[in-house]
Subunit: 106 residues, 2 copies
């Protein structure tokens, strides 16, 4: 694959995260429960996209209030992690998004 195409793909992935961060997070969490900081790091290494934590944490709280994810607190030493996992409602939403987006972009 050409270098230019790689760059373009990177830009597209970035745009997807900017506009569908909630859905991309649901997708990440579905494969494995995670806490905010881990999500930030994973997205950076896997997708090359930098999520601002100032945007991420409020988004996670919104998703939880909406019932799409739920958290349990895990004390790792003296630090507290809020580990999020996807709910049935979240999984349904994600699946509908995946179906619809594939339909629209085929």
């Amino acid at each position: 694959m050409k270098n230019l195409e790689k760059q373009l793909k990177q830009q597209i992935v970035q745009r997807i995260f900017r506009n569908f961060a909630d859905i991309m997070i649901l997708r990440l969490i579905q494969t494995e429960p995670m806490w905010g900081y881990k999500i930030k790091k994973e997205v950076q290494t896997r997708f090359g996209v930098k999520l601002r934590h100032g945007a991420l944490y409020p988004l996670l709280n919104t998703l939880e209030q909406g019932g799409y994810i739920k958290s349990r607190k895990q004390a790792k030493g003296g630090r507290i992690r809020k580990i999020y996992q996807i709910t049935q409602k979240g999984a349904t939403l994600l699946s509908t998004y995946q179906k619809t987006i594939k339909e629209q972009f085929q």
Copy 2:
């Protein structure tokens, strides 16, 4: 398909158009060259999404300036239509988007 799911799908399509209007327009134009007003009407009937002409025309001009589409003027009576068709550059962009989005949402 349940009514609720239909509603949700409609919301998703709306969100796609809000965030990827340029790409959806490229996709429309690729199947058939069109002018702005036709695009607006087609999107309304085919997708149930209302595009504001106050957003659409500037977007079409931006896409043309970027070299993704090109226009020819057609006089229909005394009215002038700017008929847009996709360029090679536009088709390449569209195809990369389709590939990348399918990858990300599978």
